[in-house]
């Protein structure tokens, strides 16, 4: 580096521009949220597996899963899981659109990203409303 510096003028530029250099943009925040929801779903898979194993194990094991899911904590975890799943799916569809080379314009990329956020919140509430309707009321 030192020996090379005298032959060519090296400008001091960051080799990898880091988070603190950019001002936070919605697309960037949602990119981070995509990774966070992905990580959460990684551990959320334990919940699904617990439920499946309990169903396979018998009525008693299944009853304990049902009991936990009806507690406030269980409900909160389930609600978060629903949102993370739907948000990661919509964010994934957005990334697939970008992978194909579409939607990179300054307007499209913004509304696509806003759409994933509004869509995930909307669909999560819809899923829960229908869920409570299926069960015949809030419990």
């Amino acid at each position: 580096m030192m020996a090379e510096a005298k032959t060519t003028r090296l400008k001091e530029r960051p080799l990898s521009p880091h988070l603190q250099i950019y001002k936070p943009l919605l697309t960037m925040m949602m990119s981070i949220v995509h990774r966070i929801t992905g990580g959460a779903l990684f551990f959320g898979m334990l919940l699904l597996v617990w439920w499946l194993i309990a169903a396979a194990a018998g009525p008693n094991a299944y009853a304990s899963v049902q009991w936990f899911m009806e507690t406030l904590l269980g409900r909160l975890i389930l609600f978060g899981y629903t949102w993370a799943l739907i948000h990661h799916m919509l964010g994934g569809i957005k990334h697939l659109i970008w992978d194909l080379g579409y939607g990179f314009g300054p307007v499209e990329r913004e509304w696509l990203t806003v759409a994933t956020l509004i869509g995930s919140i909307g669909f999560t509430i819809l899923v829960w409303l229908v869920g409570y309707l299926v069960m015949g009321g809030i419990r």
Binding site: M1, A55, A56, L85
Partner: protein
């Protein structure tokens, strides 16, 4: 050996530490996309299945989860999702865990977790289907 000019995209530190391509091509990237495409219809199907099971008793849940179409859908979802999350967590680990030993450990743990969770789920669904 190769002459490195200032136009090289590689950092001097990366060169010294022999960082670079693992020669795995684009398979990791491609499988991440492949499973993501599969996961879209499968996730919607699983949400519908789970909503149909809400509030039902154990016997009904076993009967529905064990029925052929539902069980196949659940199996496809589990296999595709577990592979997808295994690939995804690998990228997260490689991005943030820089200590070599700790990286090796977490990458192994990721694989063990994915296999254990995936096989447990597959076993449960098969058990429900075959009523063993």
């Amino acid at each position: 050996m190769t002459e490195h000019t200032h136009r090289s995209m590689r950092t001097p530190l990366g060169r010294v530490r022999h960082l670079g391509s693992a020669h795995h091509g684009t398979r990791h990237f491609w499988h991440q996309r492949l499973t993501s495409v599969a996961n879209v219809p499968l996730t919607i199907a699983v949400i519908v299945i789970v909503m149909g099971l809400l509030g039902r008793n154990h016997a009904a849940v076993v009967q529905i989860l064990g029925s052929t179409l539902v069980a196949i859908t659940m199996l496809l979802f589990i296999v595709s999702s577990v592979y997808h999350m295994w690939l995804g967590m690998q990228v997260i680990i490689e991005d943030y865990v820089h200590d070599e030993r700790w990286k090796l450990f977490t990458l192994m743990a990721n694989t063990f977790f994915a296999f254990a969770v995936g096989l447990a789920a597959v076993f449960a669904i098969l058990k429900l289907s075959f009523g063993l």
